[in-house]
Amino acid sequence: MALVNVKTKEVQVKIVYYGPGRGGKTTNLEYINNKYRDRIKTKMVSLKTHDDRTLFFDFLPFDVGTIKGFNIVIQLYTVPGQSKYNETRKVVLGGADGIVFVADVQAEQRKKNIESLNQLYENLKANNLDLFKIPLVMQYNKIDLRLQNIPVIPSATLQKDLNSHLRVPAFEASALNGGNVIPTLKRIISMTLASIQDQLF
């Protein structure tokens, strides 16, 4: 949940990038960190295994400035995608205010995307959060692979597989090249802040 310190006038919002292993969650954060490194100023922390997979989580905090007198601090997290780290994923999801679900568009990953989203529902439930209520944005990543003749899942299929029940904003993206990374982030931040604006501002 968003933490609001009315004394220091600070709002802390936690956004978690979730999705199947090797889907591009860390790449999203790396792109944001590199592109806005002068503006973000804080360091991205990445806890990786020896083969460069996310072990615990990635963490990128930054301060977007002031809205109506409240300083807004955004904390971006990723979860480890490998199946064996589900308990870690649950812990990282604790207190999440918004989720970006990063799906992998490669044809062979179709089932894993669905499984990962189903698991997200359960993991949020374990944290007393509801996937049908929490601010959420879909990102269909690695869309650039279609240019390399690698079989990809058509976006219409992805929408049906992943978004037919949720009906949340969805973005095709190429995290490696930065395509739609920032629009995805902007959308989830504005959705999350909009959801608390009546109570806050």
Partner: protein, 488 residues
């Protein structure tokens, strides 16, 4: 420290000593909960004293370990707990120098490490069982010739390593039988096969990691598992007797189909879909990633150090989160999440901190939010020296000072309260009454540190509670009237 506080602390420490003695005699849930609560209270009292707080954190971690292990707690745990309490008694309120405090901490840390070594399972067995788990997870992920071969080889290697333990080998035999079955049937394997492998593995892991468990109990688990495999064999045999039906490839069910019942029909929906053109998809403007810190993973200890890093100072949310993940290993899966919420509560109970749970709503963000986000992510507004937001387009709504003057001055709060009360009187709806209560709560926060306003705010809060109760009873009455009204 005044006398009253000191008296309270002394009472808590005495209570802690007596609870340790009780736990040493018999570990019961109420005693352990009382113990953890007492430690928690002491941590709050010693928030400003780093030495005592660290010692208390050590006690808390051991307490969580006792909570998890219950009667399987290592017998030396209680002498270590007594040692830590004794250290707290000696250091609290004394005039120890910094170096003396440091020395005391080091001695206690040594004691803790000694205990951890006694508790920990030898790395060799832990590593072996972990290796099997990794292989098993890859098999669960995908059944293919490579994962199956790896599984069979790992089970066989373990049988060789543990050939002096009949019990371990019995579990491994079961795993071997199931592995052969999966190898033979591949993707056509009975759906329960992998689940059964996982169950058998879990039991083996439990037994390997709890060497002090009574043999009879271990044997009982094995007997139950043998029964399970017999049932499984019978189920597979029945299945193979059924004449083959026309093969059907089930279409993939969309995600969350099984949770459709949870969908709120009034929820916010959006059919917004943002495609990415081919040009955008290949236009790379990504830079190197040299500013990303990657943590090193060390594995040079002789024992599994599940409590590693728990006692380091917590400098950022990363440290806190890592602690939760580490503690997950100590406390078990469910317990760790319990602790998580406890910590979150402690943050939100800090003066002036409020929690808001964001909910997806069908509402556009106010212009100030959109403007701020657009400005932040628009790199054209950045100065060459990278000074954040310094030359962003001035926006009268976004100037913090002007906002503070207009929006956060006490008059503004009172005006808003006044407006909301008028609105509630006019509409008499629960929504507007709720709004009044929220405004009063904001005033409460506004005057947190102004003692002169406290009686006034207190009266307001009491009034808001009265309004809340009245509106609640009104709602109940309305419902009961509706219930008793016969349909037209």
């Amino acid at each position: 420290m005044n006398q009253k506080v000191q008296h309270n602390i002394n009472d808590l420490i005495t209570q802690l000593e007596s609870l340790i003695a009780s736990l040493q005699e018999k570990i019961t849930d109420p005693t352990i909960q009382q113990f953890l609560l007492t430690v928690d209270l002491l941590i709050r009292e010693f928030r400003g004293d780093k030495t005592v707080a660290t010692l208390l954190k050590m006690i808390q971690s051991i307490g969580k370990y006792v909570e998890k292990k219950k009667e399987k707690t290592h017998q030396d745990t209680f002498s270590a707990l007594k040692y830590f309490v004794k250290s707290i008694i000696s250091v609290q309120g004394s005039d120890f120098s910094n170096s003396e405090k440091q020395k005391l901490l080091q001695e206690n840390l040594k004691e803790l490490n000694l205990l951890k070594q006694k508790i920990a399972v030898p790395l060799s067995d832990k590593a072996r069982i972990d290796e099997l788990k990794t292989v098993l997870l890859s098999l669960e992920w995908e059944i293919n010739p490579i994962t199956i071969a790896l599984y069979k080889r790992t089970v066989s290697d373990l049988k060789e390593t543990w050939n002096n333990s009949k019990l371990f080998c019995s579990f491994l035999n079961i795993l071997n039988i199931l592995g052969k079955y999966v190898d033979h049937q591949q993707a056509n394997s009975h759906q329960g096969a992998l689940q059964l492998i996982r169950k058998i593995y879990d039991h083996l892991e439990f037994i390997v990691l709890n060497p002090w468990m009574p043999f009879e109990k271990k044997k009982q688990i094995l007997v139950q598992d043998i029964e399970k495999i017999n049932i499984f064999k019978a189920a597979v045999a029945r299945k193979s007797n059924i004449p083959p039906q026309k093969a059907e490839t089930p279409a993939l069910q969309p995600a969350l189909s099984q949770y459709k019942h949870s969908i709120d029909s009034h929820r916010a929906v959006s059919d917004e879909f943002i495609p990415l053109s081919d040009d955008q998809a290949i236009a790379s403007d990504n830079n190197d990633a040299d500013s990303i810190e990657t943590a090193e993973i060390s594995s040079d200890t002789n024992h599994t150090d599940v409590m590693d890093d728990l006692f380091n100072p917590k400098a950022s949310p990363v440290d806190e989160l890592l602690d939760k993940i580490h503690l997950m290993n100590v406390l078990g899966k469910n317990k760790s999440t319990g602790m998580t919420s406890q910590e979150d509560d402690s943050v939100s109970s800090m003066p002036g901190v409020k929690k808001f749970t964001p909910r997806r709503i069908d509402k556009e963000p106010i212009p100030e939010i959109s403007n701020r986000i657009d400005e932040f992510f628009n790199l054209d507004t950045m100065q060459p020296d990278g000074e954040k937001n310094s030359n962003l387009t001035p926006d009268i709504n976004l100037n913090p000072e002007s906002v503070r003057d207009e929006e956060t001055e006490p008059e503004s709060y009172f005006n808003r309260l006044h407006d909301s009360i008028e609105q509630a009187i006019l509409s008499m709806t629960f929504h507007d009454i709720d709004h009044v209560i929220k405004e009063i709560s904001q005033l409460d926060n506004m005057f947190l540190e102004d003692p002169s306003k406290k009686p006034f705010i207190h009266s307001l809060i009491l009034s808001s509670k009265l309004i809340e109760k009245l509106s609640g009873s009104l709602l109940t009455k309305q419902r009961s009237v509706l219930k008793n009204t016969p349909p037209d």
